[in-house]
Each structure stands twice: as structure tokens, then as C-alpha cells.
């Protein structure tokens, strides 16, 4: 598996965002991409396709589950939903991410002493 350029900011970031988005409401792939793009104010340019391997990883770890259904626009789509394990995982990831972020920002912050 070679990767031409990093698709994420850091490993796991995309998954975290997917989980967070799904926590709000179950969505299908396209809607997920649109939602992430929109809420990040288009700051994050993710390649739409990279969503799918990430979704498969989450499926495999039982963090989300998928069901075929009909979307609001009357299309046959596969809707993803957060599992309880996924919710827990998200919580942990977010808190550790926040701690990391805090650590990084403290280091980056101009010295206060």
C-alpha cells in the first residue's frame, strides 16, 4: 500500500470526523463527505474516495454499522450508523486528541513566563 501524499492531517483524524458526524445522525457516504466539507468550511479538502477505506476500517472494528435504504433524494444508498462501541471510541479519541492539541498549542504558544 503506497500513499502518494498524506490524505489526513494525522492517522485517525478522518475516522474521528466520520464518527463525530455519524454521532449526530446516520448518513450515507456522499452525504457524509458533503457534511464534513461543509462544516469544515471547506478548509479540509479530503479526497472523497478516501472516505470508503476509512468506512471499511470502522465497519471491521464494529464502530459503525451499515444498512441499505432509500435516501431523502430517493436513491438506494448505504446508510452508516454509529454503534455503542463507536460512540465510546469516539469519546476516547476526542479526549486524547484534545489533550494532544492542548499539549501542542502550549508548546506553540509564545512563552508566558
Amino acid at each position: 500500500m503506497k500513499q502518494a501524499e498524506p490524505r489526513d492531517l494525522f492517522p485517525g483524524a478522518l475516522e474521528m470526523m466520520i464518527l463525530r458526524t455519524l454521532k449526530r445522525q446516520p448518513l450515507h457516504g456522499y452525504a457524509l463527505v458533503q457534511h464534513i466539507k461543509r462544516t469544515s468550511n471547506d478548509l479540509l479538502q479530503i479526497e472523497e474516495g478516501s472516505l470508503y477505506p476509512a468506512l471499511q476500517r470502522l465497519l471491521k472494528d464494529d464502530l459503525v454499522k451499515a444498512e441499505w435504504g432509500i435516501s431523502a433524494t430517493n436513491r438506494r444508498v448505504r446508510t452508516y450508523k454509529l454503534t455503542p462501541a463507536g460512540a465510546k471510541h469516539l469519546e476516547r479519541q476526542v479526549s486524547s486528541f484534545e489533550r494532544m492539541l492542548e499539549g501542542i498549542s502550549r508548546v506553540l504558544r509564545p512563552s508566558e513566563s
Binding site: M1, H28, G29, Y30, V33, E47, E48, G49, S50, Y52, P53, L55, Q56, R57, K60, W68, T73, R75, R76, V77, R78
Partner: protein, 860 residues
């Protein structure tokens, strides 16, 4: 974790995604083709993404598997001694079991290669007086005409001989007579040509159907074999057909001959020399058919009780005798495997406890427990596969050897080989063993204490003395006891069979079978041959007879002058025509009366000599000499009619065993020159007692036969020792295998006990050091360890002996002159194991005693 299944779902999902995107872009006013391109651009490489998504599922599994294998291989290579010992142990266990399985599969399990073989049965009549009998031609015709249970019923006359002339030196060919339906019943068609027509069955000779073996070996596979003419027994017979190879039924047949019902000797109702077989109709049970035929049998003889018909599945009929031999060998092989598993478990146990440090490090670095367990199983699997492959090679070699040397005289042995079933068997066995022995590391692992292990660099598996692995040692010892007892019982039976007086002196005896096709001239030929052979230098005695010790004999029905004879329950005994010097030649002792002499010829009064068993059976406590009996010989070619000819009992000889491992039976002997039918001259055995090695005389005797009568075939020239050797072949086979398994078991158990006790001592070094430091005598420590090992051994001995009794009972049909609870076999096994266990315990115990307290306490 299974692989990725949602291949099509994923493609569909991605396609839907693209469509939705295009639709949205088009709705926003972009032209459709532009929108399609934009959607694809933004999505990325569809194929790659699909592949990546799939990899998510596949990669994890394959990657860890490969990693496990590589790690396992590295760990094994780092300690090649361990890997080699385990792999070799496994190879031996799997090899032995696969080999035995191959033998059992091809001999016992594989169905007969005929149409619907489960419906084929051998048909036997039973009576108290005469035991198990085939049928006579009139009975066969009754069965055939009146039964409502069989699709076909056929009769066979196995193993008679023809003399073949005109193909080099005259020789005997082996014939199997059969009735019309035989091959159609099996669903076997001729390879070349045709079978006999029903009309041809009423004329002897003229046409002949030959076997595949005869065609290949004697006629060189001649493609123009049909209408070739051969001279059998002085008559020209045209070959009309060649049958395909029949390795399961009568494999040594040269000629498939006809049973011609029209012969007068075929029409004797109580002359039951035919073998009967049948194919049951669908929906008829063997029991129903037995009742059906029993009723017909009773109607035919006019009696209503005492005899009955039994059906035996044809395959059981062919393999019945070896089934019990193979069963015990298979059970023995299984026990060997068990012992090997125990030993491998000890090895893994010791190794795993050494590796606790390594495992603890891996766990603390984040390896899941499942992952580590899988690592163990993968390592075991690696060894098991290597061991299994070596074992398979071993099995294939030994099965080949068994088939080639015809070890054990097994039926259906020709086709024996390590086939795909055996391959599968070996593979499944390897897998099962690798899973089974993963128990040990798993058990240690489950008790792993991360903190203390990481701190000290070694685990606290604790004293082996308290662990559940003690059970393993007990069961290993028990298995070894069972094997040793079984082997002991077989050895004892074999020894008894070889050393019990067979009733004659088999040494220095040369035998040959002489078949003449023209009877009357035999009356001159045989006496002249006997006389001239006796005068050869180096020959002590010569005789002829139509039976040979350990080769079976004809039977005769008995009538007495001193008691009432029940025509429905005629006793039958073994019977044999002999020349005057027969008993002197084979070395059988006379117990009362006299031997036959020169006056007991066709002109003399009819006489008979009986054996001890017959004297006891019919004149218990009385002197049989001078009594009158009539003996009607039964068998193919014999006619039982005319006035009954009573013979005077002139002598009693000791029992001559019908086989070394068979009990003596009542038998009578009559002077061959007193066979007024001349039938006996059709073929007789020549028996020659020599002063030195009888094998040196084979050419001399052959020349002598040809000097008296040129072109007389001399068949089956063998020493009596060889004949006897052959009769014990199946017994030798099981003895050889079970014996070597038992030896192997003893060795493995010694290694097992040694390894286990040594391991336990190593685990308890500190404890011993402490004990010694606190003032324990070295002898006490020695005793402690010895007691530990010997207690386990004793538990194994007791439970093993109990199981061995069950085994002994189950194999009672293989025992000869030995009971299932033979004290010698049991004592031998127990003493041997005790000695081995004591030795195996002593060395580790000695080491425990020598523990230096300071070193031991500091080593932590």
C-alpha cells in the same frame, strides 16, 4: 476474522456516490459530461479506492498470519534442537498412524469395487455337529429355485487346480469354479471376449475364461488371446474371455472355470463343498433372507432343527480374519500418538515457561492476548506441518514395504498405498495435534503475572507438583502400560504357538504337491515314487498324503458300528489319506496300536488310524483299537453312495495341529491305497524327511519325480518350516507392529517422565535450596523428588492395568493358550515401567539433591 465479502456492495455504493454527485453538479447547472469528469476527479481513482477498501479486510488477516509464521519460524530456528525433537516426535506419531490408517483403509474400509457391494453376502449353513459349511449343489439349486430374498445366488468352487501342458514345463494353474450368475451378480464384465453361456455350463472343458493375472503373466498379455487353445488336464480348451483384475476376490485365480452341475459327484446332497454367495433384493433384510433359506434347507434334508443358514456381508467374509489383528494394531498406534502428544506438551511447557519473559514484554508492548495465543498455535502448526510431511513420507515408505513384502498376508493388500484419504487423515491429524498441544502454553499464559515476570525476567509457573499436567504424566504411563501388556500378550501367544508341540517334527521336511490328471495310473506311480525317493542318499523317509500339517485337510462324515447313527446329525472330522510311512516321516508318535504297513493296501482289510482328540471325543475312557467306523470322504469330486465300508481302528496317534495357533481337532487317517474310487490319486503331497537341510534336496527330488514320470508338474515345493512360518504371518504382523509400538512407548515414556521431573526440579530449585539451607538432608530432597515421580507412575500403572484388562478381553480372539489377564504379561509390563520410571526420576532427583543453597537462593 473472515475476508471481505462486500465486494459488490462497495462498487454499488461508489457508483451511487458518483451518480449523486453528478446529479448535484448537473442541478447546479453544469453540463452532464463535464459534471461526470469533475465528480471522478474529486472522488479519486475508483479502482484504487475499491482495492484499498478491500485491503482493510484482507490485509489484517494475511499480514498477521505471515508475521506469525515468520516470527514462529524465527523462534524455532533460534532453538533448532527443540524444533527438530518436536517435529521428529510428531513425524513418528503421524507416520505410524497414517501408515496403519492406510492399511486399514485399503483392507477394511474401502468398499468392494462391485455394483452395490453392500447387498452381497456369503451364505453359510451351520450345524452343531459339522460347524460352518458351504452348500451342496442340490441345496444350491433348492435355494436358487425357491428363495424369495435374492436377486442372484451363485456357487463357487475356490482353489482347485488344472495341469497346464504345452506351455514350457507342465505346471499347475489355480482355478476358481463358478456358476453362471457370478460375474453378472458383481457387475463385472469381461475385459476381452465373453463369459460362458448358460448352455456351456453343462459341458466341462471345451471353452475357458482366464484371469487378468494369467493373461498377463503366462500369456504375456497376448492381444490375440481369444480362440487361443490351451491344454488343461489333457483336454484342449479354447480361450473365450479374459476377466479384469480381481484383487479382492480370489486374487490368485488363473482360470475362471465352470461349476458343472451335471457331474454325478455334484449331485450329492450332503457333500457341501461349494461356497455360496448372493445378492439380496432391495428391501429384504439379511435376517429375513436367513429365515427364508433356513426353511428351504430344512425342507431339503427333511429335518427341522439343528442347522440354520447365516449370511455374512461379503466384505466381512473377505477381511474377517484380519479385522481383529488390524483393530489392535490401530488402537496401539493411537496410544503411541497419545504418548507423543504428552511428550510434546512437556516440551512446549518447558519452553513456554522459559519464554514467559519474552511474552510479558510483548504483552506490555500492546500485543493482545488472542494475538499471542494465535502466535503459539501458529508455531505449533508450523512444527506439526513439518512433522506431518515427514510422517507422510515415513508412512508411504512403510506401507509400500508392507504391501511389497506381503507382511501379514493381508487380503486386498495389492492395492495398499497412501492415497488421498490417508493424506487427508495425516493433515487433519497434524492440525488436531497442533491444537491439542497448544493447551500447554495457553495454560501457562493464562496464569502469567505481568508484573513479577517483567521484574524477575522469569515466570512463576509454580511447582509442577501441583499443576494439572500431572494428569498428563499419569495418562502417558497408563498408555504405555496398556501397550506393553498388549504386546506382552501377543508375544506370549506367539511363543506358545511356536513352542507348543505341533504333533510332528517340522524340521528337515521337504514337501511338494503332485497333481496327476489321470487317476488309475496313480496306483502305480505314487508307490514307485515313494520307494525310489526313500532310497535317495540323504533321505531318511518318504511318504505321500492328501493333507499337510498346518495346511488344512479334507473332511469325512462318520458312521459307527457300536452305536445308533442319526442320519440328520452326521458328525464330520478332518480326514486324510496317507501312505504307510507318513507318521514316521513327519515324526508323529504312536500312542496305541500300530502304524500302517505294506499290507494295508487295496487288497488288505480296510483300516483306519485315529488321533487322540478323536479317541477322546468318541470313546472317552475306552480303548478304541478294534472298533469299527465308516468314513465317507466329502469334497469336490467325491461320490457318497454304495454300501458303507466299515474300517477297523488299528492305531491312535498324537494330535497333529491343523495350524500352529489352532487347537487340535478330531482327525482320522486312512491308507491311500484303500481309496477304491482312485480319486485320491488326482493329487497328493510328497513329504520327504532328509538328514540335512531339506532345501538342498529340492532339485534331487524334482529329478526323481521326473525320472519316474516325465512332465509331472511339481508344485509348491517348500520346507515344512516355511509352511509353518507362513501360517503365523498375520500373528507375526500384529506382533511386530504392536511390539515395536510398545518399545517406542517405553522409550517415549522414559523421556516424558525424565523431562517432566527435570522440569519440575528446575522450577523448584529455589525451594530445594531453601530446604537444604534450612537443614534438610540431601537424601530427603532426593526422596522428595523420587516420591513425586513414582507416585505419578504408580497412579499410571494402576489405571493402565485396569484399561489393559479391557483391551485384553477385547483381543481375546488373538490370544492363544494365554488368558487376557496373563500374570506374566502384566507383571512384565509393570516391572519394566517401574524400572524405567525409577531411572528417569533418579537423575533429576540427583540434581535436586546437589543443589547448592547459596547459588539457588541467589539465582533469583
Amino acid at each position: 476474522m473472515s475476508g471481505f465479502k462486500g465486494d459488490r456492495e462497495l462498487s454499488e455504493e461508489i457508483r451511487a456516490h458518483l451518480e449523486e454527485k453528478v446529479a448535484e453538479l448537473v442541478a447546479n447547472g453544469m453540463p452532464r459530461d463535464e459534471a461526470t469528469a469533475a465528480a471522478r476527479r474529486e472522488f479519486g481513482n475508483v479502482g484504487l479506492i475499491e482495492e484499498d477498501s478491500r485491503e482493510v479486510w484482507r490485509w489484517m488477516f494475511v499480514e498477521t498470519l505471515i508475521a506469525d509464521f515468520r516470527y514462529g519460524a524465527r523462534m524455532l530456528l533460534r532453538n533448532p534442537g527443540f524444533a527438530i525433537v518436536v517435529a521428529l516426535t510428531l513425524a513418528l506419531g503421524i507416520g505410524v498412524n497414517t501408515a496403519i490408517f492406510s492399511v486399514v483403509e485399503s483392507v477394511l474400509l474401502r468398499p468392494l469395487p462391485y455394483h452395490n457391494p453392500d447387498r452381497l453376502f456369503a451364505i453359510w449353513a451351520n450345524s452343531k455337529e459339522e460347524g460352518r459349511m458351504g452348500g451342496s449343489m442340490p441345496e444350491f439349486q433348492d435355494y436358487k429355485d425357491q428363495n424369495r430374498s435374492f436377486q442372484q445366488i451363485v456357487n463357487l468352487l475356490p482353489r482347485f487346480t488344472y495341469k497346464l501342458d504345452g506351455q514350457g514345463e507342465p505346471r499347475l494353474v489355480i482355478c476358481t469354479g463358478m456358476s453362471f450368475d457370478f460375474f453378472p451378480m458383481l457387475g463385472v464384465k469381461p475385459l476381452v471376449g465373453r463369459l460362458y453361456t448358460p448352455e456351456e455350463y453343462h459341458v466341462d472343458g471345451v471353452q475357458v475364461v482366464i484371469s487378468h493375472k494369467f493373461w498377463r503373466e503366462q500369456l504375456g498379455g497376448d492381444p490375440n488371446v481369444i480362440v487361443r487353445v490351451l491344454n488343461f488336464d489333457g483336454t484342449a480348451q479354447t480361450i473365450i474371455g479374459v476377466m479384469p483384475s480381481m484383487p479382492d476376490l480370489f486374487p490368485d485365480t488363473d482360470v475362471w472355470a465352470k461349476d458343472v452341475p451335471d457331474f454325478r459327484w455334484m449331485q450329492v446332497r450332503n457333500n457341501r463343498f461349494l461356497m455360496l454367495m448372493g445378492r439380496l433384493k432391495d428391501g429384504v433384510s439379511p435376517e429375513q433372507a436367513e429365515q427364508d433359506l433356513t426353511a428351504i434347507l430344512h425342507r431339503g434334508t427333511g429335518e427341522s432343527q439343528g442347522s440354520s443358514v447365516t449370511l455374512v456381508p461379503l466384505k466381512d467374509e473377505l477381511t474377517g480374519k484380519v479385522r481383529s489383528q488390524l483393530d489392535i494394531v490401530m488402537a496401539a498406534a493411537g496410544l503411541v500418538l497419545l504418548i507423543m502428544c504428552a511428550n510434546i506438551t512437556y516440551l512446549l511447557l518447558a519452553r513456554t515457561s522459559k519464554r514467559q519473559g519474552e511474552i510479558a514484554v510483548r504483552v506490555s508492548l500492546g500485543a493482545g492476548k488472542g494475538r499471542i495465543l494465535r502466535q503459539f498455535i501458529t508455531e505449533n502448526l508450523l512444527i506439526a506441518l513439518v512433522g506431518g510431511a515427514v510422517g507422510l513420507a515415513l508412512a508411504s515408505y512403510s506401507v509400500d514395504l508392507i504391501a511389497r513384502l506381503n507382511l501379514g498376508n493381508l487380503p486386498r493388500a495389492e492395492q495398499m498405498a497412501v492415497d488421498p484419504y490417508a493424506l487427508l487423515f495425516a493433515f487433519v491429524l497434524s492440525l488436531a495435534v497442533s491444537l491439542l498441544v497448544a493447551y500447554a502454553p495457553a495454560a501457562i499464559f493464562s496464569r502469567l503475572n505481568l508484573h513479577s515476570t517483567l521484574k524477575t525476567g522469569r515466570g512463576e509457573a509454580g511447582s509442577f507438583g501441583k499443576s494439572r499436567f500431572r494428569v498428563l504424566l499419569v495418562s502417558e504411563v497408563a498408555s504405555a502400560v496398556v501397550l506393553l501388556v498388549v504386546a506382552g500378550l501377543l508375544v506370549r501367544s506367539f511363543w506358545e504357538a511356536e513352542h507348543l508341540d505341533p504333533g510332528f517334527h517340522p524340521d528337515h521336511l521337504l514337501t511338494a504337491y503332485l497333481r496327476t490328471s489321470d487317476y488309475p495310473d496313480g496306483r502305480q506311480f505314487f508307490p514307485e515314487l515313494v520307494e525310489r525317493t526313500r532310497q535317495l542318499p540323504g533321505v531318511q523317509m518318504a511318504a505321500v498324503s492328501n493333507c499337510l500339517p498346518a495346511s488344512g485337510s479334507a473332511t469325512a462324515s462318520l458312521f459307527f458300528s457300536d452305536r445308533a447313527n442319526d442320519p440328520y446329525h452326521v458328525p464330520e472330522v478332518a480326514a486324510c489319506w496317507v501312505s504307510a510311512d507318513f507318521f514316521r516321516a513327519i515324526g508323529t508318535r504312536l500312542l496305541a496300536g500300530r502304524f500302517f504297513g505294506d499290507r494295508d493296501n487295496g487288497a488288505g482289510p480296510p483300516v483306519v488310524i485315529i488321533n487322540q482328540a478323536m479317541a477322546q471325543a468318541y470313546w472317552p475312557g475306552k480303548d478304541p483299537i478294534g472298533k469299527q467306523i465308516a468314513a465317507d470322504y466329502v469334497g469336490a469330486g467325491r461320490i457318497i453312495d454304495g454300501p458303507r465300508r466299515f474300517r477297523q481302528v488299528v492305531g491312535v496317534v498324537q494330535n497333529i495341529k491343523p495350524g500352529l495357533d489352532l487347537p487340535a481337532e478330531p482327525a482320522l487317517y486312512t491308507p491311500y491305497l484303500q481309496d477304491e474310487t482312485d480319486h485320491v490319486f488326482a493329487g497328493l503331497n510328497l513329504v520327504v524327511r532328509t538328514t540335512c537341510d531339506p532345501r538342498w534336496f529340492s532339485e534331487t527330488v524334482r529329478k526323481q519325480v521326473h525320472a519316474v514320470r516325465p512332465h509331472q508338474p511339481v508344485a509348491r515345493m517348500r520346507t515344512m518350516d516355511d509352511v509353518l512360518f507362513e501360517t503365523l504371518a498375520p500373528r507375526r504382523f500384529s506382533l511386530l507392529l504392536v511390539g515395536s509400538f510398545a518399545a517406542l512407548a517405553l522409550l517415549l515414556t522414559a523421556i516424558g517422565i525424565f523431562g517432566m521431573i527435570a522440569y519440575s526440579v528446575a522450577q523448584r530449585t529455589r525451594e530445594f535450596g531453601l530446604r537444604i539451607a534450612l537443614g534438610a538432608e540431601p537424601g530427603e530432597v532426593l526422596g522428595l523428588v523420587m516420591k513425586d515421580g513414582m507416585l505419578l507412575t504408580a497412579a499410571g500403572l494402576v489405571s493402565g492395568s485396569l484399561i489393559a484388562v479391557v483391551f485384553g478381553r477385547a483381543m481375546s480372539s488373538l490370544l492363544f493358550e494365554v488368558t487376557a489377564t496373563d500374570p506374566l504379561a502384566f507383571t512384565g509390563a509393570v516391572v519394566m515401567l517401574l524400572a524405567v520410571a525409577a531411572c528417569a526420576c533418579f537423575f533429576p532427583a540427583w540434581r535436586a539433591m546437589k543443589v547448592e543453597p547459596v547459588v539457588a537462593l541467589r539465582s533469583e
